[in-house]
């Protein structure tokens, strides 16, 4: 994937000009920046959740910015896994169903055994039938990772995955992310202000 010449300005708000990004399969990129420099804005642009003022985002040769409407939605669902800062789930259905829903939403036929395998790889296989609110913070994060990977995306975008964690867990989650995401064949972009990760990943951009 690569991005080129991205910029974004909020109406009556700040404007950002983002550095270009070039990332190959199974690579990790850390995007580091303080609050207010447009980290999440960049992440949402890369995910196709927000249109930039200018620039392009190419994923496997498709310019995400040019896709319109439901095509963009479908492309995002299939190719980009997002781990949101707050672990968000559909609260009315259990963990496994949340994973299966992610598949159905992009018209991949629901594969229960794949979902269960993914959950047990992330060591929360026993929580498959629990409701999201019954999970601990750690379990919720693992479930988020599982959901991001269930559609076998090319890229996983993680928004502040470690900022709320203590040092020990910070290290653990970073390892887990790297291991599982790269293990699945996708590349990983972590957007954070957490400087503890600075030395953990060599490939990084500072905003």
């Amino acid at each position: 994937m690569n991005s080129f010449d991205l910029s974004f300005s909020y109406p009556r708000g700040p404007s950002f000009l983002f550095p270009d990004i070039d990332l190959r399969a199974k690579e990790v990129l850390l995007i580091l920046g303080h609050s207010g420099v447009g980290k999440t804005t960049l992440l949402h642009i890369l995910a196709g959740l927000r249109k930039p003022t200018s620039g392009t985002v190419n994923i496997n040769g498709t310019n995400l910015i040019e896709l319109s409407g439901s095509k963009a939605d479908n492309f995002r669902g299939k190719n980009i896994g997002i781990i949101h800062q707050q672990s968000v789930f559909i609260r009315s259905i259990n963990v496994l169903q949340n994973l299966l829903l992610a598949q159905t939403l992009v018209e991949i036929s629901a594969d229960e055994s794949a979902a269960l395998k993914l959950l047990s790889d992330l060591k929360i296989g026993h929580r498959a039938s629990a409701l999201p609110k019954e999970l601990s913070v750690g379990e919720r994060q693992r479930a988020s990772i599982a959901r991001a990977l269930i559609t076998q995306p090319k890229i996983v975008l993680a928004d502040e995955p470690t900022s709320a964690l203590d040092d020990e867990n910070c290290e653990r989650v970073a390892n887990l992310l790297e291991e599982t995401v790269l293990g699945s064949g996708a590349s990983l972009i972590i957007v954070t202000h957490d400087h503890r990760l600075k030395n953990r990943f060599a490939n990084r951009i500072e905003l």
Binding site: S35, G36, R76, G77, I82, L100, L105
Partner: protein
């Protein structure tokens, strides 16, 4: 994990407000469907019984009472009229046919009516078994009467004096069943028919024992069919003004009754419609509330690849699911309501409503329910359609 199952899971997650919406819909639909079906079937029933009868002649009193007693067999008669008066009327050139009716007795609450066999042909009742009555104390049973009394051809029974079950028995006289009619869906189904002479025979004995002292033969009422519209113009006036009898026109009296009943039906129907509107509001508000709660979830679904249209459909589905449940329970509730009214009615009014047919009103309520569901979910669904993903899922950077 289809959106349908997700819609269901969402409704279950908001069980309380979902249940409230369904209950309101159930009550509204149940009331509207049952009251409209009831009034339809009642009207149908009443119209069937009235067919072929232009005028009823009986003793002076309330004309509505005369119609209810002589045509529908649900009220007490106004009294008796002398046979001699009737014979004059029968021969009137404007009378096409006339059928005498004499009441006096019952068996287990079923009226024993003395008449001639033209009464059977009036309701086009065919014989299931047996033959018409030919001599006194022979009876023919209507289909429901035979069924509920468990009487068969050749069975004997004693009549009870009066129209209520509690009267004294005519111990010395025994009726014998000589025929049973096929069901007609009219008043005749619930009657025990015999000859006019039977009724006279029974009550002559009472006269001997000092029970009554009229020496003239009497009947209770006469059903009349006019030869042409001139009859309608002349006969009722002639009877009411020159004889001791009264003439009542079933069509007019029944219209008066409908007007009276109609107010009650209209009130129940209005309550039902108001309930349905409240139900629609309840669906609307509960969807709007749950949507406010689920803003983040909807944005999440968008980020997972759901199109805005899919979210629109999801909300629509939730609303339609609620409405369909309300419709289904409403029909069941309406049926239970009609069933209890009809059971009550069987005892008091001998009205047996056919409950198993799906009425046109129930079919009509279906698209109306769907419309309610669509209207109630329109604004919330548009809200879901417009879910702004990026700002909702934005972290605090």
């Amino acid at each position: 994990m289809s959106t349908f199952r997700l819609a269901w899971a969402n409704l279950m997650a908001y069980r309380l407000s979902s249940t409230l919406s369904v209950i309101l819909l159930t009550l509204g639909i149940g009331m509207v469907s049952s009251v409209m079906t009831l009034s339809d079937q009642l009207a149908d029933r009443f119209n069937k019984d009235i067919r072929g009868i232009d005028m009823v002649v009986g003793a002076k009193g309330s004309p509505l009472q005369l119609i209810l007693s002589a045509v529908y067999q649900i009220d007490n008669p106004t009294g008796n009229i002398p046979l001699s008066e009737i014979d004059r009327l029968k021969k009137h050139p404007l009378v096409k046919y006339s059928i005498p009716l004499s009441f006096g007795d019952n068996y287990e609450g079923f009226r024993i009516v003395g008449t001639d066999t033209s009464y059977v042909s009036l309701y086009k009742a065919a014989f299931a078994v047996g033959r018409p009555w030919s001599s006194p104390l022979e009876v023919v049973l209507g289909a429901s009467a035979a069924d509920e009394l468990k009487l068969l051809l050749g069975d004997h029974f004693h009549g009870t004096h009066g129209l209520a079950q509690e009267g004294e028995d005519h111990e010395e006289h025994e009726y014998v069943v000589v025929g049973i009619l096929q069901p007609t869906g009219t008043v005749i189904d619930r009657l025990i028919l015999t000859s006019t002479e039977s009724v006279w025979e029974l009550h002559r004995h009472e006269e001997e024992s000092g029970h009554a002292d009229e020496d003239e033969k009497q009947v209770t009422a006469l059903l009349v069919k006019f030869k042409n519209p001139m009859g309608l113009m002349q006969l009722p006036r002639w009877i009411n003004e020159t004889t001791a009898m009264q003439a009542a026109l079933p069509a007019i009296e029944m219209n008066r009754l409908y007007d009276l009943l109609g107010v009650g039906f209209a009130v129940i129907r209005a309550i039902g419609i108001i309930l349905m509107i409240i139900a629609a509001l309840s669906v609307f508000i509960s969807l709007l509330n749950s949507l406010k709660d689920r803003k983040v979830e909807l944005a999440l679904m968008r980020s997972l690849g759901a199109s805005p249209l899919l979210l629109f459909r999801l909300i629509l589905q939730e609303s339609l699911l609620l409405c369909m449940l309300g419709y289904l329970f409403g029909l069941i509730f309406g049926r239970i309501g009609m069933w209890s009214v009809s059971n009550l009615g069987n005892d008091q009014f001998h009205v047996n409503l056919n409950q198993m047919t799906v009425s046109p009103i129930e079919i009509w309520l279906f698209p109306i329910t769907i419309l309610v569901g669509v209207l109630a979910s329109l604004i919330p669904a548009i809200g879901a359609y417009r879910t702004e993903i990026s700002s909702v899922l934005k972290s605090d950077d």
